[in-house]
């Protein structure tokens, strides 16, 4: 598997355990990016020449491919964005004011990434609504029971990660979707940490919106996707104005394009769309169940190895999806990460864009190891051995 990723040819000795921040890219994705610029470089939805038409056709074919990838009912429910963050902000800015009134509540979990926290916090300020933050489990995951109990008739929006980015826990969304819909609210899902690992079905989840990024699922940076239920997208106003998103423009007024183009002002990230398509094709031609099983084994093995080291505190659970977050008591995560870096082990150390969660866990930061399709059991073993050594280096062996 590693040989399919040119990055590892450039870094043969690197143990890369930061795929939750961004995954490496298979050759097929890099080829698609180059293919666009070398063979297909033309703007989309504008030119009448054959090349521009073919590029537009591919751009739209990838939209259909994305729809199929996450089991959306129609390609027109797929909006290209810059990132998960961009998609969640679009929902907050465009859809939020349509349904949230002063005194209403927006409900999130205390385990949310800042990108699924701040848009709702700021929207609440703007609309004089109340942001309700559900307590988390002791190990830093979303507490589904706690979320369910906080859904009230005033709850208009429920925004949750399908897989949290520190604990790595998969959130059982279906019952929450039912509960929020029963009170007339809407479910917005941050899928950033889910799409690379799980088979996503937005209709089975009954999500009203679902946002994710290309770069955490083996695709390029700068391209993301927002799924939205067609009936909701139709009623939402655009929030950016310019080329590509119009129907007719007069001196003093304008009408908007239908469907997703209404939300895609300006020349989009066409190369990113080519790369995203290639990433989906690549993922769908892998044995995804086998990769998921391999990632589960790696998470379990690493958790067991770390648990055997005195002073290690583990977050998340044995069921965490591709993520193992931990701390070594008495050693700051940054010092540990520097020690690991000297052994060519790349992990994330910090607050993981989840400061409200760090506050709830009572720590300034954690170390996070995260897995992709190219990792092996040996990678986790090298990490655990290095953590054991770091303990001796910083704390002395007792």
């Amino acid at each position: 598997m590693r040989e399919k990723f040119p990055f590892f040819a450039a870094h043969p000795d690197l143990v890369y355990l930061d795929s939750a921040a961004t995954s490496q890219k298979p050759q097929d994705v890099l080829t698609a990016l180059q293919d666009y610029y070398v063979n297909a470089n033309a703007n989309v939805h504008r030119g009448l020449y054959e090349l521009a038409y073919a590029t537009t056709a591919h751009y739209e074919a990838v939209r259909a491919q994305v729809a199929s990838f996450i089991h959306a009912a129609k390609p027109s429910e797929i909006i290209y964005t810059r990132s998960t963050t961009d998609g969640l902000n679009l929902v907050a800015s465009s859809f939020g004011p349509q349904v949230v009134k002063p005194g209403d509540e927006i409900l999130i979990s205390g385990a949310e990434h800042h990108s699924n926290f701040l848009p709702w916090q700021q929207l609440s300020h703007r609309l004089q609504a109340k942001l309700v933050v559900a307590p988390v489990t002791a190990t830093g995951d979303t507490d589904v029971e706690a979320v369910a109990q906080l859904i009230t008739p005033r709850t208009k929006l429920l925004a949750l990660a399908q897989v949290t980015n520190v604990g790595g826990g998969e959130v059982a969304l279906a019952p929450l979707a039912q509960a929020i819909h029963d009170v007339g609210g809407y479910l917005i899902v941050d899928g950033a940490q889910a799409v690379a690992h799980l088979s996503v079905d937005v209709q089975a989840l009954d999500a009203d919106f679902y946002a994710f990024s290309g770069h955490k699922m083996y695709g390029p940076t700068g391209i993301g996707v927002l799924y939205g239920r067609e009936a909701l997208l139709e009623q939402m106003p655009p929030i950016q104005f310019g080329g590509e998103m119009i129907d007719e423009v007069l001196d003093q007024s304008a009408t908007w394009a239908e469907g997703p183009l209404k939300f895609e002002a300006g020349t989009p990230n066409i190369a990113g769309v080519y790369g995203l398509g290639a990433a989906i094709t690549w993922l769908m031609t892998q044995d995804r169940a086998a990769i998921a099983q391999q990632e589960r084994s790696q998470v379990l093995a690493l958790r067991q190895a770390l648990a055997a080291i005195p002073g290690v505190v583990l977050y998340g659970s044995d069921a965490s999806i591709g993520i193992v977050s931990f701390n070594l008591t008495g050693v700051h995560p940054h010092d540990l990460a520097t020690f690991l870096d000297e052994q060519h082990i790349a992990v994330r150390a910090g607050h993981h864009c989840a400061q409200p969660l760090m506050a709830r866990l009572g720590v300034p930061a954690t170390v996070r190891a995260s897995f992709g399709a190219y990792n092996t059991i040996a990678d986790g073993a090298r990490l655990a051995a290095a953590v054991q050594e770091a303990r001796g280096f910083f704390l002395g062996n007792d």
Partner: protein
């Protein structure tokens, strides 16, 4: 045997300084107080200074952080006591130069704090080393510093 890069960064004196930092407390009557953050890592550091007759007579820092930021806070506060604000500003600038470039003509003037120069080999950690010093510059150099002085 040559010291490894890690040993140069984490000299024993730095580990000791971080585990038993000096001036890690709060002042009863500070003239200047500032809280600075390292947004990429979440570390927070509060620095308090007391000035009398144009010289810093007491300094204290609080907050949690990594070995480098804690050791740096300890060494910085210890170094600036007895200095004038202008001298502190010079030390802050000399220290930045030392940890970014690995050498500075003013290395001797920094005293014990110069032990942190190994940080220059770890660009990702320079901010950890400079956090406390930036706090000092901010506390003394803020346009509204006079407003804090009451």
């Amino acid at each position: 045997m040559a010291m490894t890069r890690l040993d140069q960064l984490y000299r024993q004196v730095i580990l000791d300084e971080a585990s038993h930092p000096r001036h890690h407390s709060t002042l009863a009557a500070p003239d200047y107080a500032v809280t600075v953050r390292n947004p990429s890592c979440g570390d927070v550091l509060t620095l308090q200074l007391q000035v009398q007759e144009g010289k810093i007579i007491a300094a204290a820092f609080a907050g949690s952080g990594c070995t480098i930021s804690q050791a740096s806070g300890s060494l910085m506060t210890d170094r600036i006591i007895g200095q004038t604000p202008a001298q502190v500003m010079q030390l802050v600038s000399d220290f930045s130069e030392l940890v970014i470039d690995g050498h500075s003509p003013a290395e001797a003037a920094l005293g014990d704090a110069a032990v942190l120069k190994g940080v220059h080999q770890f660009p990702a950690r320079i901010k950890c080393a400079t956090l406390a010093w930036k706090a000092a510059a901010q506390a003394l150099g803020l346009p509204d510093a006079e407003d804090n002085h009451d």
